[in-house]
Symmetry: C2
Subunit: 441 residues, 2 copies
């Protein structure tokens, strides 16, 4: 069917299209043309123009683009709460890495990713980024679950369950990229873990490949003070400078965390059109530091939002991440007007989509874009009165009201039920993994 | 019936008694004696000793003391989201205070408090503190709803809807205190708003009355840098010093916010046994500053938790407050091991109860205490696997699993339903208030 034939109306009390204008539209309808958005119009206008179309009424709901979780390690959901409240080095070296070394295999990744995707979908996320071992397993799970994803295998110098080192990891990433070349759902990108996990020559090689093939690159960058201090000591420069020297600063780059900045850094990131992925809950929980979000945005840097993995969060709800991002940005900027609710919603939708290279496809409710959407019921004791729905979505716990989630116009979650995933089977597998890991603790 | 006659068993997968030991007990039962806790025992032991008692099984649940919300302005729930993302002075002077001046009366307070109590109960809170106009109306609502409360009328020098100034406000507080003298549910305390809203002579008078009558005192203290700067300019001293001079620093005092401290302050607060009430979400959202929670606790200061009012939060869930408190404390202390999950649960229960003067009665599951409890279902996609239930309660969004809430052994919330409040009637009244206020915006 041609993309300009309307097929259905979704009429909501409030529509937040994010673009072309980022404001709240009262009593509007999203007109669908199959899997695409055809138009966003006042409901009476839409009804008059298409009186015979099936109409879904969302009378107590806000309808907004599906959320984009721009950084995470999905399979680590199997380690949720396994080792909290520990110093970062102890957490990684003594708990997480040994456990991963012992257990991570394709089945672990498939089961953990299925759990993570189910949680994300139920919280309104329709696109996520994932960096973990066995990315082919994560990609397959995402595809079956009907969610959109940027998938990255970790590129690290040391041998691990998935690769013998950086060369093989790059090779495997390229092969996987080739496999999903034509997919609108799955995009494979490069995941150099960090400057401390890779040498400069491999970083330079990744830069060339990324530019040649137009592949995105995501890296953990300036997460902690220790990372900067160690880099200075070992290389004489900060990781950001290493990336610049290796040719990696550019519009394809997604720099995750960025809690440790110097005065010239926001301008440098903006000039190179680098996207920053902000993970406030992980940064706080691991005591990594404070990303200056308002300052970065004022400098013209695109800032997306990520939950990071469940082992350092412990929730994959991007609504919860929006909440913490919005209130933390105000305190960090010492300005209660910093990062208003509509702006953080933009970060969690369109900015995320653009950072991941999905901006042409998703992240806003605009004509021609995929109908990736979430409906949130704002009625009830914890949300009312509703003066400004965006305030409720961000500050009052939007994820509790998620009622329906669509990808490409297809509902994948509705009224508490997953339509593409068997959550009973997922939970049974999760409990098996838990018991096996617990027994060997 | 004598308090040592067991009447029922509540058998949970995990019990978190908070005291005498603050740890997780696997497969334990809380033995009730009417409205009191008789004992906490391993479930097989309890079943053997009392084989004929009715037993409630909570096989997927954590059972913990009901939460204590140590600071708020309940009726302001009617202003939830009315004016977000504004600078503090604009927010107060141009939006909140004019709106309050126009609308606040006993009916507003009764309806707003009913909404707030319903939200708090559904999120596991069994005791709250409230500072607002017409405290007699809040107290009546709390009593009917079956929740425990510390109620304070605002003591301010300027005339307002409730009083002509400080003298009348103190007089009315004393009368209300007398009315509830014998209540275990409602305790009336003094609510001097702040040092800038009262003169030193009234603060001194409150200090004497509080000591004579053994009444608690709650005050907003060191909330913002502006508060300190203005006080220095106008009085030559910081508000904390003014309170010391007026004789208010003592075990009856609850100092709310405390984001602006000098090096000697934690020791001074500890010496005077002052309780601090930490409201991290409000502090972040209003860009007030960062309370050094780990440092205060290390100095021996009791730190309770509060949500503040819905107009500056916008949720009254103490689970959400615990989450932000726990992750923020780590970043502020630059220590990922700061404020572990069990410690923040203690802050939100026993420390809060002791700060409010309810410590003999509630805040832990110990023999002889009131059976004020909350059961949280930890099964499901967003919580599993469960390695450490305290991690899930704090970091993964415990309020989403609240299944039953008891005060004095009586369920007041069960399986999504309020048993002592008519939520349809509350929502109808909230919508009426919303429409009236919206129309005059």
């Amino acid at each position: 069917m041609p993309p300009d034939t309307a097929t259905a109306l979704l009429s909501a009390r409030w529509v937040l299209p994010v673009a072309p204008e980022n404001r709240v539209l009262d009593d509007h309808s999203v007109v669908l043309a199959g899997s695409k958005v055809l138009a966003v119009l006042p409901t009476p206008v839409a009804r008059e123009r298409w009186p015979d179309l099936p109409e879904t009424r969302l009378d107590r709901h806000a309808l907004l683009p599906g959320l984009v979780n721009a950084h995470g390690h999905a399979a680590m959901s199997l380690l949720r709460g396994y080792a909290d409240d520990l110093p970062l080095a102890t957490w990684l070296n003594e708990r997480i890495w040994p456990l991963e070394g012992r257990w991570v295999d394709p089945a672990f990744v498939a089961d953990g990713t299925a759990l993570a995707v189910a949680e994300m979908v139920a919280a309104g996320t329709t696109t996520f980024s994932d960096m973990y071992f066995f990315p082919e397993a994560s990609a397959a799970v995402a595809l079956r679950a009907g969610i959109r994803a940027q998938i990255l295998g970790p590129l690290v110098r040391f041998p691990n369950a998935w690769s013998s080192g950086a060369d093989e990891a790059i090779h495997k990433s390229l092969a996987l990229h080739d496999e999903y070349r034509d997919s609108d759902r799955i995009r494979i990108a490069f995941g150099p873990h960090s400057t401390y996990a890779l040498d400069a020559l491999h970083l330079a090689r990744i830069a060339v490949l990324a530019e040649e093939l137009d592949v995105r690159v995501q890296i953990h960058l300036h997460e902690t003070t220790e990372e900067i201090a160690t880099a200075r000591k070992e290389t004489g420069e900060r990781p950001l400078e290493t990336l610049e020297r290796c040719g990696l600063l550019g519009p394809n780059l997604q720099a995750v965390h960025m809690t440790q900045l110097e005065p010239g850094d926001p301008g440098r990131l903006a000039r190179h059109a680098v996207s920053v992925v902000h993970c406030p809950q992980s940064n706080l929980k691991l005591a990594s530091g404070f990303c200056p979000v308002a300052e970065l945005r004022a400098a013209g840097v695109r800032v997306a939002l990520g939950t990071d993995g469940a082992a350092s969060n412990n929730s994959l709800s991007l609504f919860r991440e929006m909440h913490v991002a919005a209130i933390l940005a105000k305190a960090v900027a010492a300005d209660a007007a910093a990062l208003p609710a509509l702006e953080v919603i933009r970060m969690a939708t369109l900015d995320g989509a653009e950072a991941l290279g999905f901006g042409d496809l998703t992240g806003s409710l605009e004509s021609g874009k995929a109908a990736d959407m979430v409906a949130v019921d704002l009625s009830g004791i914890a949300n009312e009165p509703v003066f400004h729905p965006e305030s409720q979505l961000v500050y009052a716990g939007g994820e509790r009201g998620v009622s329906t989630v669509w990808v490409d116009g297809e509902p994948i979650f509705d009224k508490g039920r997953h339509l593409r995933q068997d959550t009973d089977a997922i939970l049974a597998s999760v409990r098996r993994w838990r018991n096996r890991m617990q027994d060997e603790q």
